[in-house]
């Protein structure tokens, strides 16, 4: 059992409301869910869709074909009508779309008319449609009725009741008119599951790590973090500030971090370009900071709402001068949660900038889990505060140490002065010009820290066959689709996935020598959502390994499982 549903329509028609509602209901029923979104950079009109999949086994990506297409506009039918599975059905409102079809796969449901009759307003057409989908699937309507109460209780009982009636009407219509149409959905095998999106996972990871400062300037796909943290600000004591521009955002975060808070900023490529000087400032002043960098296709404004893995190369070298940095690139919401925590720990432990590199696809997609394990979350306060700070003899912010890590005091907590400087400085933090001190400081903040930081990076994850003939190599958000491709091809091929989520500095070869592993596999394919193979270049530069086969996609859309499998078949001929 494995069902896919696509809701298509114009921006502003509420496809997200339907998608999110269904996702929540499937997750609460105990199914595994995966969803992703595809939308244009506009507030009204155009064509957008929301795609959900549910099953009794874990899901990690979207399929090409769907079982139910909810068409809220005619374009949904022209664009996605061919994507139906053999038993697939389209539900649509003939009057609203001014369109009808005799094709038995098409079921006309008067969403707006039913909404008007039950709730007195066309607005509830989405509730009718959600009820209708549940009706076609023969699932329990109860969860939707409960969800409606939770969503609308602030608007009063009348609104709740009207929406419930609209849901019932859609449900019943689908049950009565959908003969031979409904699906044999197996009962859910699990308990109620946690459903979480990439953006929320980053926000939650930040909260769980004690982040109390977030400054940002709005930019897709990072704006969701700003909204999420703002919604929790009061409860968690998080200062959330919309900065006047990205330059201000990173400098504010550095100011807050200097003052003693765990601070973060978030942006996308264009905004990060403005932050580059601030990144370098973090490097020179050794001020901890976490930067959530959500990639979207460039150059320049590019495709603002779409996805790409096109900024890895930029992050590797961004900021003038030489200083250590870490880049973490989660492949799922779960990884995003734990890696956000790791980002905060590393940033503060080593007093460096740490990137959480994601993309629109990861940010907008949702996954289900049994739960998130808070025992795996670490929290160490690496700052010197209060009495412990006061007891320091002869405090120097940039004291030369064996590890390169100098004591990070909280200004004002003791009589010691905390002096930091973007100029080259001495141990106390004051401007210098002499070459001996310069050499000592480069040695301290760069060379001594680098091997320690490298030792913190986790090895790539090997999934599937342990001695494969084919290995799919990737990083970040392609995790799910590569994993599903491996599962699908495993019957006929000795295949595995090697996924990197801790990508810079690349992990050491002990305990897992991935270079030697790659050398032994007859066909290693590097899969990236960019045009030039930025990760394969990094791997070659750092390990000398050169990929003979690559799959690149740069149309701004993620891979579907079928699409990736098709591409892989093209390479299988070569071994």
């Amino acid at each position: 059992m494995d069902y896919s549903i696509k809701i298509g329509g114009e921006a502003g028609q509420g496809i997200q409301t339907i998608g999110e509602g269904l996702g929540r209901i499937f997750a609460r029923s105990g199914y595994h869910v995966f969803s992703h979104q595809d939308y244009e950079s506009r507030v009204r009109g155009g064509h957008n869709f929301y795609q959900l999949r549910f099953a009794n086994h874990p899901l990690a990506a979207s399929r090409q074909n769907m079982d139910i297409l909810v068409a809220l506009d005619r374009e949904s039918i022209t664009r996605h009508g061919q994507e139906l599975t053999p038993k697939g059905r389209v539900i649509y409102d003939a009057a609203a779309l001014d369109f009808s079809s005799d094709d038995p796969a098409f079921l006309a449901i008067p969403f707006e008319k039913l909404a008007q009759e039950q709730g007195g307003s066309k607005i509830m057409a989405n509730t009718v449609a959600t009820g209708a989908v549940l009706g076609m699937l023969g699932l329990d309507l109860d969860l939707l009725l409960k969800l409606i109460a939770a969503l609308f209780h602030k608007k009063g009982d009348a609104v709740v009741e009207a929406n419930r009636n609209a849901a019932r009407a859609g449900y019943q219509f689908a049950r009565e008119h959908g003969d031979g149409v409904s699906f044999e959905v197996a009962a859910a095998e699990g308990q109620q599951r946690l459903l979480i999106g990439g953006i929320e996972a980053i926000g939650l990871g930040a909260l769980a790590s004690g982040c109390t400062f977030y400054a940002a300037y709005p930019m897709t796909p990072s704006t969701g973090i700003l909204n999420f943290l703002a919604s929790k600000g009061k409860e968690y004591g998080v200062m959330v500030e919309q900065a006047e521009d990205e330059i201000a955002a990173i400098n504010m975060a550095l100011g807050a971090s200097y003052a003693g808070l765990r601070a973060m900023t978030g942006t996308s490529g264009g905004g990060f370009a403005l932050m580059a000087e601030g990144l370098s400032l973090a490097g020179m002043t050794e001020t901890p900071i976490v930067i959530a960098m959500g990639q979207r296709p460039g150059p320049a404004t590019g495709l603002p709402t779409r996805t790409e893995q096109g900024d890895l190369g930029f992050l590797l070298t961004a900021g003038h001068g030489e200083f250590p940095r870490v880049i973490l690139a989660p492949g799922t919401a779960e990884q995003a949660f734990y890696l956000t925590n790791k980002a905060f720990e590393l940033a503060e432990k080593y007093q460096i900038p740490v990137f959480l590199l994601f993309d629109t696809y990861l940010g907008d997609s949702q996954w289900t889990y049994d739960g998130l394990d808070l025992k795996q979350v670490s929290y160490h306060d690496y700052r010197l505060r209060g009495e412990a700070f006061g007891e320091q003899q002869d405090y120097k912010r940039y004291a030369l140490t064996d590890s390169g890590i100098s004591p990070l005091g909280v200004p004002g907590d003791a009589a010691h002065l905390v002096v930091v400087d973007s100029d080259e400085h001495d141990e106390e933090g004051h401007i210098i010009e002499d070459n001996a001190t310069r050499n000592q400081m480069v040695e301290k903040r760069l060379f001594r820290k680098l091997p320690l930081i490298k030792g913190e990076m986790a090895p790539p994850k090997l999934y599937g066959e342990q001695e494969p003939r084919v290995v799919l190599v990737g990083w970040g958000s392609t995790y799910g689709v590569m994993k599903e491709a491996v599962d699908a091809l495993a019957e006929s091929e000795k295949i595995a996935m090697l996924h990197f989520s801790e990508i810079f500095p690349l992990p050491e070869m002990a305990p897992f020598d991935y270079r030697a592993f790659l050398d032994q596999v007859p066909l290693a394919v590097c899969i990236e959502l960019n045009a030039t193979g930025q990760f394969s270049r990094l791997l070659r530069a750092e390990t000398g390994f050169e990929f003979k086969a690559v799959i690149h996609k740069y149309d701004g859309r993620p891979f579907t499982v079928e699409e990736l499998i098709g591409e892989i078949h093209g390479h299988l001929k070569d071994i």
């Binding site: 400062f213 200062m239 400098n251 504010m252 003052a259 998130l372 808070l374």
Partner: protein, 283 residues
């Protein structure tokens, strides 16, 4: 006990006779009079001759990037509103490179003391015109003279309803001290533009030039009347007023922020237990 000695630092790398020396000495006197110890406040600066000031005394210091002192200062204030924050900056640093931050800081009314060493020139980079250079100012890179009109920081402050807008003159140390003290006690963004002769690169706006023009605001001048303040702010040229041009009692940004109602976030302990409850929202 804080004394002037408490604040003594290394010999500044400024040109002998620079107006910055008077500003530095006055700054130290003010800190002594306010009985602030060096660790009890933070000086944030950008890049320029003015921005080097914190290195020549004793204080918590964040000497950041050219033009970016205000956002760093804002971040510190939003993290720890118990920490007084002073920005020492130049006319290029503050009015040029950091222009957008100045607009935002005035709109926010963040409680930061903004001391602008205004020498009407880029000193550190050896004499290019700054946003406050008068029309016609000649320099190596503009041999034909500056075409743009100068920025008027006083008028800008009044226009944006900045809570405290004042001007002083580096060579009038008694006046400067009064202005710095008033700025320090103001609860909101306090802009103090300090006319600072640059003896090396500004051969027009010299000590003499300023002395001939500068006058103290009349005792009956009312800085709370915004319209007359605007008229006063426009005075420049033959006569240059110094003193508090404009002030209002808008509450500082920090006072409006609900998250800061309990005081400094730096002193709040982290309680990871709440996450368990938030996780439930995702089921």
């Amino acid at each position: 006990m804080v004394t002037l000695k408490t604040f003594s630092g290394p010999q500044p790398a400024w040109c002998p006779g620079c107006g910055n020396f008077a500003i530095l000495n006055t700054f130290k006197e003010v800190m002594v009079e306010l009985k602030l110890e060096p660790h009890q406040f933070t000086v944030v600066s950008g890049i320029g001759q003015a921005a080097k000031l914190p290195h020549y005394t004793k204080c918590n210091t964040f000497n950041g990037l050219h033009g970016r002192a205000l956002p760093v200062a804002t971040g510190i204030r939003l993290a720890n509103p118990a920490m007084p924050v002073i920005v020492t900056t130049g006319d290029g640093d503050c009015y040029g490179e950091g222009g957008n931050h100045l607009l935002a800081a005035m709109r926010r009314n963040i409680n930061v003391k903004l001391f602008v060493h205004n020498n009407q020139i880029y000193g550190l980079t050896k004499g290019q015109p700054s946003p406050t250079s008068d029309e016609g100012t000649r320099a190596k890179n503009v041999p034909g003279g500056v075409i743009s009109q100068p920025l008027n920081p006083m008028a800008l402050g009044v226009a944006l309803d900045c809570g405290f807008v004042a001007r002083s003159f580096a060579a009038d140390m008694e006046h400067l001290k009064e202005m710095m003290k008033e700025a320090m006690s103001h609860q909101g963004l306090a802009l103090l533009d300090i006319l600072q002769p640059c003896i090396t690169f500004n051969k027009v706006n010299t000590y003499k030039w300023y002395r001939e023009r500068v006058y103290h605001l009349e005792p009956d001048y009312d800085p709370e009347d915004r319209l007359s303040a605007f008229a006063k702010a426009l005075e420049w040229g033959e006569r240059i007023p110094i003193g508090v041009i404009y002030r209002n009692s808008r509450p500082a940004y920090e006072e409006h922020v609900p998250v800061l109602a309990g005081g400094s976030l730096v002193q709040q302990a982290f309680d990871p237990a709440k996450i368990e409850a938030t996780l439930q929202d995702f089921y």
